[in-house]
Symmetry: none
Subunit: 115 residues, 4 copies
């Protein structure tokens, strides 16, 4: 976790979980780590992990079975993709184009910075 980051830690954790689903490390229907396990793993307050899970549940990426744990939704993969796509286009791109205008950078200019 990056504690000196503009992104809240709980969102960093949510992103981490979504990435592990995209990378097929966990599959639809599988149980994910418990709040406490994950909290111990990433050295974070359990409340923070809980908040990440709640967020993912709200987004329909995971679901909760009381007393058992959290599981990956069947359509988690597509949900995540469309979530990321929407956020990228609606929130990230406008900011990108705004900044590029200010700095007189064209889209083709970006290629030189691409690692």
């Amino acid at each position: 976790m990056d504690f000196n980051n503009q992104h809240p830690i709980f969102m960093q954790i949510a992103a981490m979980i979504m990435d592990s689903i995209l990378e097929k490390e966990v599959h639809a229907g599988e149980r994910i780590q418990s709040v406490r396990e994950l909290a111990g793993h990433v050295q974070v307050n359990p409340n923070t992990v809980q908040r990440a899970f709640s967020y993912l549940q709200d987004q329909g990426v995971i679901f909760n079975q009381r007393g058992v744990g959290y599981f990956v939704s069947d359509d988690a993969f597509d949900k995540i993709k469309s979530l990321k796509r929407e956020e990228f286009i609606k929130e990230f791109l406008p900011e990108l184009f705004r900044r590029m205008d200010h700095l007189n950078i064209s889209i083709d200019d970006l290629k030189q910075y691409k690692a």
Copy 2:
């Protein structure tokens, strides 16, 4: 000012001043509005403007003449440009490329979103 914004108001004010310098509305060596004047204009507390000015002074964009006011630095223009460029390249671009990789979007694909 956008009071319901993730960016703090004092940073919005700082950005506003930097923009007015980039737009050549105020030039190097010129005095800018006093803390109290600007606070009245943008309807915020003088302390908030003060904080924006202190930030800009730390960045070398403006300087203070005691009892007189704040003035635009001689190299303010370049300072601002390099400040913005650095932030863009070091903080914004890595995030951009990370997201594009996840979404399988190429740099050329961006052109279709450009207004």
Copy 3:
């Protein structure tokens, strides 16, 4: 705290913290008192302590872990030493030599004043 001092209170607090690091009362990586705790101890407004912490964070002496508190940087000790050394050599010494010249005092003459 000395409230009738030419140095602002928030700088006195910053100096106090740096001294406690130099004196090894707190070590690298350790958490320091919270804003509110310290404010209570030294009988000042929390905002004033906050300002001291922000200054020290800008200088890289301490860092923040969100929702948890402030911690001493790994290289705080060296940072403080070099901060003080630089200030001494660049701002204090020239003034010293200027005054000594005016008063016809040599460096060796200083020894007689040393307690």
Copy 4:
């Protein structure tokens, strides 16, 4: 004048005048520049020069003849010397030794910094 200096401008002006007396550019009994002349000279608000003159008058370095101007006191030279000496020993030296202790610098070490 150095407007970005910890020393107040009126004290810088007072020091300037005292220096010109020490350098024998003006002699005891001679009239010095008027407030307005000097203010124009150093590009400063006349109030600021006035304040420097008042300070010097308080210290007995100059005296005022109403409607005519300010004149250098007969014992200005000695007054200035002892003023500077006293300030140096009572205010400057303790600070010097305090800082040198913190930085583990000895009096002999100073010689290497002497231009």
